[in-house]
Amino acid sequence: MTGWIDAVIQGVLLGGLYALFAAGLSLMFGVMRLVNLAHGDLIVLAAFAILAVATKLGLDPFVAVLVATPILFVLGFALQHVLLNRTLGRDLLPPLLVTFGLSIIIQNGLLQTFSADSQRLRSGPIETASIPLGGGIAVGVVPLLTMLSAIAVIVLLNFIFYRTPVGRAFRATSDDLEVAQLMGVDHRRIFAVAMGLAFVVIGIAALYLGLRANFDPTIGPARLLYAFEAVIIGGLGSFWGTLAGGIVLGLAQTIGARIDPEWQILAGHLAFLAVLVVRPRGLFPRAQD
């Protein structure tokens, strides 16, 4: 019985990580209807960047993320402005294929630079620290921090979206690109800002990815799929829905793993397909499409 309770707790907390993966994807789709196939690889890239900064400057990963945040924002802004804005239009193919190409470039660039070896972010005793809940159950501090960070990111994104001028511009652009321009919104800049913001979220996701487990250049696509599944399970257009989607996915994986360790990933995918069959618009649909 404790095993099962433990699986549920771990699953919920794992959901926090998936919500962090998903928040960036959801943000990009919410503002510019971009489905970014390189999303997972960007998370892995950010993890390597944090690793490099942390080792080169001798910083703790948590500090390294803070250092990296403005850089990430600028990178995202530039990526959107220089490359991805060119792909947006009525046709689905260019953004999909350009980001797919990007995914391959990032994976192999990382392989070339960092080799295929597994890496891990090191942050001292906090990595293994845990809080006992009694009855032989304990929650790790890092998983707990992951969940709290996911919640903080969602609160912050909701604040930006619903309480600030730039958030209004995000929503207006996503509603009606043409009329938004009539309001003086330069959609190319707005898209670039959104991507910059998504990159900051990616950086936070990367921190916890690297603290919780080993990573190597090839694990990006799987993270993309988890992020995507969390977004769809939660229902498009709501950040809180994304958290719920992440939790459902995390639960499915840990419970699957509890039955048979080899079933962990499969169980997550099957939960996603099941939701798709039963509620194709997700658990908490919001957007009109």
Binding site: R168, R171, A172, D176, A180, Q181, L182, M183
Partner: protein
């Protein structure tokens, strides 16, 4: 020099030519009306001025400066605001947010603020947190006009603001026009309702299949002239 001039303005949708060499002028403080049958090119004309469709740079002149090639987001900052056909409010923004986003690109201060727009259309204050799809057609039109005013335009382009509204509601909307003009704003009205257009416009332009078919002051034009310019018989 006129405030706004179009010079030999042409417009294309792909291979299809929607406007052929349109010459118009708009003086400061003036109201002109564009009339014409469905598909005559009236909306296309407004979109060309607002920067949603681009022709050659010097086909549109604002204070003598060519603006025909500027993107829409810059045009609004130069003081030209469009109330688009069909209102096109942002469904995921509340009434107040729709008004606020209208002031997004505003550089200079001017007569219009959120308070003044809400004073012009008091219902917009009452319903400021509502989602726009829940408003009546007339209320939605008020949001669309208020949203355009929030950028403090010197030229307001209105595309069929009476479309689909009951006569009494139309009267309400048009009642706001004098108060807008009182701020020195020039207005370009696109109207299918010729009688309404004649009442408020200083001058009228009639379009027919992308060409200018008639120009003049309302009191100088006969019914028959307008009928012919409108339907081309």
């Amino acid at each position: 020099m006129a405030l706004l001039e179009t010079h030999n303005l042409t417009a294309f949708y792909g291979d299809f030519q929607a406007l052929y060499g349109i010459d118009t002028t708009l003086e400061k403080g003036e109201t002109i009306a564009i009339i014409g049958a469905n598909g005559a090119g009236k909306s296309t004309f407004l979109k060309s001025i607002a920067g949603l469709i681009h022709g050659s740079a010097d086909s549109v002149l604002l204070d003598g400066n060519p603006i025909g090639a500027r993107p829409a987001a810059e045009i609004v900052k130069l003081g030209i605001a469009l109330v688009p056909e069909g209102r096109r409010l942002f469904p995921s923004l509340t009434v107040e947010e729709n008004l606020l986003i209208g002031g997004y690109g505003r550089k200079t201060s001017g007569p219009w603020t959120l308070d003044r727009v809400q004073a012009l259309f008091p219902i917009l204050k009452e319903r400021r947190s509502s989602a726009t799809p829940t408003l009546s057609g007339g209320q939605q039109q008020m949001v669309a006009i208020g949203r355009a005013l929030m950028s403090n335009p010197c030229i307001l382009l209105c595309d069929e603001i009476s479309l689909g509204l009951a006569p009494i509601v139309i009267a309400d909307i048009y009642a706001a026009l004098p108060r807008i003009k009182a701020e020195g704003t020039s207005v370009v009205l696109v109207e299918q309702d010729v009688v309404q257009a004649m009442k408020v416009a200083d001058r009228v332009y009639c379009f027919q299949e992308g060409r200018l078919s008639l120009t003049g002051r309302p009191r100088d034009l006969t019914r028959d002239q307008i009928h012919r310019a409108y339907f081309g018989t």
